[in-house]
């Protein structure tokens, strides 16, 4: 009886694995791949870029093998793979992950016609990667309770006691932490500590992520929250219309950081031509239009405009720091956040 049970379990398990084996569309290993296949490690979510990749395959006839994951974890994976990486292209959500790959010498230099089309704030100095879209930091606010003029010009204004009990943000979110790191680079550690202590004194509500923060603003739990600019559109797309708008900081304010998603070609790529075609596509008309209209981000190539009502990048004057170099400042940023009790 027991033996039969064990045999049955074994049988089912093996059967299930066999079925599982059939499930993936393309078997791994380079020999099984068609000549034109490009392997992409995508740190951007399938929800947001899957359709663009489909469109690329249809337009160019080049097949893509897309591996989705977390940007930083995929960067760590590529670093471990070293020269044996199966990846041709790495598409990342943030510049930090791209910088890490570039610093290890695992990216190949991009041709100048691709490099030159992208705004120089959103590409690597050595031409190792280019931005594909920009994502701005904003203060999202409840439009039933506030109007844009009520909000301070600088994010430092939120340390004023008048904001007590009215603000919220997600301190564990990597974009928020990158903003704190940027502030340390710009204003120094002491000024950043003072700022964070001022925020804490105003008893902020802390949320687990950007989406929850925006939903809390919509529900009126808090009036203002610090998030990336596109979340109000994402939440609206899922929940329907919400009474939330973005307030942008400008003139190089530390709150005005614009980070970029971007891509580079691995030096070990087996298909550099296909990889290059993909990056041309992402920075070309189709890609830029897609990021502008479908994910509500900033196009990073001249001649393309955001689809939603965003303050132009030129007015924002994102602070002058090397985005891919923020990695070194993340640790002091987290130390500070822990010190003031936000983590």
């Amino acid at each position: 009886m027991r033996l039969r049970l064990i045999t049955a379990v074994l049988g089912i398990a093996l059967l299930a694995t066999a079925c599982g084996d059939d499930a993936p569309a393309a078997p791994p290993g380079s020999e099984a791949e068609g000549e034109g296949t490009v392997t992409v490690y995508s740190g951007r979510d399938e929800e947001f870029v899957g359709a663009l990749f489909d469109q690329f395959e249809a337009d160019t006839g080049i097949a893509l093998d897309v591996r989705y994951g977390d940007s930083a974890e995929l960067a760590a994976t590529i670093l471990e793979e070293g020269d044996s990486s199966p990846a041709d292209v790495f598409l990342s959500q943030d510049a930090g992950s791209l910088g890490a790959i570039g610093a290890e010498g695992l990216f190949t230099e991009l041709p100048s016609d691709i490099i030159d089309r992208v705004d120089e704030r959103f590409r690597s100095e050595d031409g190792l990667w280019v931005g594909t879209s920009g994502r701005g930091r904003v203060a999202a606010y409840n439009t039933d309770k506030l109007s844009d003029e009520d909000l301070p010009d600088s994010i430092l204004g939120f340390t004023d006691p008048e904001w007590k009990g009215r603000i919220g943000f997600p301190p564990t979110n990597s974009s928020f932490q990158a903003f704190v790191a940027a502030m340390i680079e710009l204003e120094g550690e002491d000024a950043t500590r003072t700022f964070l202590e001022g925020l804490v004194a105003n008893e902020p509500e802390l949320y687990e992520d950007n989406g929850s923060t925006v939903r809390a603003i919509a529900a009126g739990d808090v009036e203002v929250g610090f998030v990336n600019h596109y979340y109000i559109y994402e939440v609206a797309a899922e929940d329907g219309e919400i009474p939330v708008a973005n307030h942008f900081f400008t003139a190089g304010d530390p709150g005005a950081l614009v980070n970029s998603a971007g891509a580079g070609i691995l030096a070990t790529s087996a298909n550099p031509e296909g990889a290059q075609t993909l990056i041309e596509y992402l920075t070309g008309e189709e890609g830029q239009t897609y990021f502008s209209t479908e994910t509500w981000e900033y196009p990073v190539v001249a001649g393309y405009e955001p689809s939603v009502d965003l303050v132009p990048l030129d007015e924002i004057e994102s602070p002058d720091i090397d985005l891919s170099d923020l990695a070194g400042t993340i640790e002091p940023a987290l130390d500070l956040l822990a010190e003031v009790g936000l983590l």
């Binding site: 947001f48 760590a76 793979e81 809390a216």
Partner: protein, 545 residues
């Protein structure tokens, strides 16, 4: 009449039974595979220069290690405080609805801790769904913030106590009721009998369950980061994901291993050297203990645990799922992912069982350092965060066995390394209860070692093996970091679908796969609970080995 004797084993009797050279070689190979991640960490750590060391030898590292240890201790004690009474109530008393409680109390095990933590925040956090109703009923306008230590403590306790509950439940059902009669014959009342006799006999299962909980807490990242509790794993993740510096990450991971090793040594000491084993089996059912006036408190206890650990997270998932129904999601993808999950988790469970057998045999039958090593080696993969184990497999497979890289066998292998102790421990405990004497009898009757194993040992440990396989299956079903990094491109499991939805902030898309994950896991859990329920009760004769 059972005779109870408890004594320390004699060293001179260094058992040779069951430790054929073939077995030792198998054990060594499996041990080497389990230690691969540690080897990877040593390789990376050896690249350290003084900068990396300075980064690590800071007060903050010590502080984080102490915080994690403190959390692990608190969660373990709480998990035992919930798990042992729950096991006893469902196994031995006339608790109303015992059968259904047996299953309900085990169910929180299938809720991934990142989903559970999210659900807790969604219910009780600043935007909590339950805040309004609580305020209306109690009049409390502001609830205390559940972030930080309380949140991490509650989330991890609620979703790990089933380890203690299941293992102790199996042990209680395996106890010989004759022992309690004997205790009462000696004039002890029920409570004294429980504390003097039953509890010591349950000590090994409590210790193993507690160890699973403690090391889970130590390596967890999902729940602690969501609850904003500064833990040691955070320092490791920061190096990998924030600073992109693998050397300090490796040194910190080795420190985590060292902390785990201390806990492992302490547990082995606490377990003591005495062993208990039974020779005969009888079908005499255990006596059911009437709860009397304790019935209501017992029911309240079970209800509160199930409410917070299962009903509340499920309610949050269902709430999002219903919202998602309106927008009509692709259900097909979820079914394909379910097939992937079941296949790879089942393969992991089967492989872990085969890998566990030699280790369990050696650990149960060999004395000295070989036995001790076999007993402890399986824990080294379990003690590490999933991301670290996954990256070590990326390193070895991509560079040395590219044909294996990004294939399902590699995912299965990673599951074995990550979850092996869950399979080894129930089997080892079962082996200890069998005792070597039966094998000796079999051998003396002229049977070969293999014949004895097939006809005597295998049937007796099958229950432990099945329990272990079920535990591995359940944890593999919800595994995320290793699956994400090692899977073949395009291969989906329910856990990766949950992740895809949740990272995009589309909770309604994450809810469907999360719901299906729980439903699918409930099936083996039901059989596990039933299996324990209807199992024969072996009459235990304890004797010196």
């Amino acid at each position: 009449m059972a005779i109870a004797v408890r004594s320390a084993p004699r060293r001179a009797e260094a058992g040779r039974g069951g430790s054929a050279p073939g077995l030792l070689i198998m054990g060594a190979v499996i041990g080497a595979i389990v230690l691969l991640p540690v080897a990877y960490l040593v390789v990376r750590a050896s690249e350290a220069d003084s900068d990396s060391w300075n980064l690590i030898l800071r007060m903050r590292t010590v502080w984080l290690a102490l915080r994690s240890l403190g959390l692990a201790a608190a969660v373990t004690l709480a998990a035992i405080a919930i798990g042992v009474p729950a096991a006893w109530l469902t196994a031995r008393t006339d608790l109303p609805g015992r059968r259904i409680w047996t299953l309900l109390l085990a169910l929180p095990l299938v809720i991934p801790s990142y989903v559970g933590a999210f659900a807790l925040l969604a219910a009780l956090g600043p935007r909590g769904l339950l805040r309004g109703p609580i305020a209306r009923v109690t009049g409390w306008e502001t609830l205390p913030d559940i972030g930080g230590f309380p949140g991490a403590f509650i989330a991890l306790t609620l979703f790990t106590y089933p380890y203690v509950y299941l293992l102790v439940g199996a042990a209680i059902r395996g106890l010989d009721p004759g022992l309690e009669d004997a205790a009462r014959g000696l004039g002890m009342n029920r409570w004294r009998g429980f504390f003097r006799l039953t509890l010591p006999l349950l000590r090994p299962s409590i210790a193993t369950g507690g160890l699973l909980v403690a090391l889970y807490t130590l390596h967890d990242f999902g729940a602690v980061s969501m609850m904003r509790f500064q833990a040691f794993t955070q320092a490791i993740y920061l190096q990998y994901k924030g600073a992109f510096d693998r050397t300090p990450a490796a040194i910190l991971s080795l420190l985590l291993i060292a902390v785990a090793a201390l806990i492992l040594i302490a547990e082995r000491r606490a377990r003591g050297r005495a062993r208990y084993s039974s020779v005969r089996s009888s079908a005499r059912p255990p006596q059911q203990i009437p709860l009397g006036r304790w019935r209501t408190p017992a029911l309240i206890f079970c209800s509160v645990v199930v409410l917070f650990a299962f009903v509340m997270p499920m309610a949050v998932i269902v709430w999002w799922f219903v919202r998602g129904l309106a927008s009509g999601d692709e259900a097909r993808l979820t079914w394909v992912a379910a097939g992937g999950s079941v296949g790879v988790a089942a393969a992991g469970a089967v492989m872990a069982t085969f890998a566990a057998l030699p280790l369990a045999l050696i650990a149960a039958r060999r004395r000295g350092w070989v036995g001790a090593l076999a007993d402890r080696v399986s824990w080294f993969g379990y003690a590490l965060p999933g991301l670290v184990v996954a990256l070590s497999f990326v390193f070895f497979a991509a560079n040395f066995t590219p044909a294996l890289y990004q294939t399902l066998p590699l995912v299965v292998l990673a599951y074995v390394v990550l979850f092996l102790p869950q399979s080894v421990e129930p089997m080892r405990t079962a082996l200890l209860q069998v005792g070597p004497r039966l094998e000796e009898v079999g051998r003396s009757l002229g049977r070969s070692r293999g014949q004895v194993f097939r006809s005597v040992v295998a049937p007796l440990i099958s229950r432990g093996a099945l329990a272990g396989a079920a535990l591995v299956f359940l944890t593999a079903m919800k595994e995320l970091p290793a699956t994400l990094l090692l899977r073949p491109t395009g291969f989906e499991t329910l856990a990766t679908r949950v992740w895809t939805g949740a990272t995009a902030g589309l909770y309604s898309k994450a809810a469907g796969p999360a719901l299906l994950l729980v439903v699918i896991c409930a099936v083996p859990l039901y059989f596990l609970a039933r299996k324990i329920e209807v199992a024969q009760v072996p009459e235990m004769e304890m004797h010196p080995e």
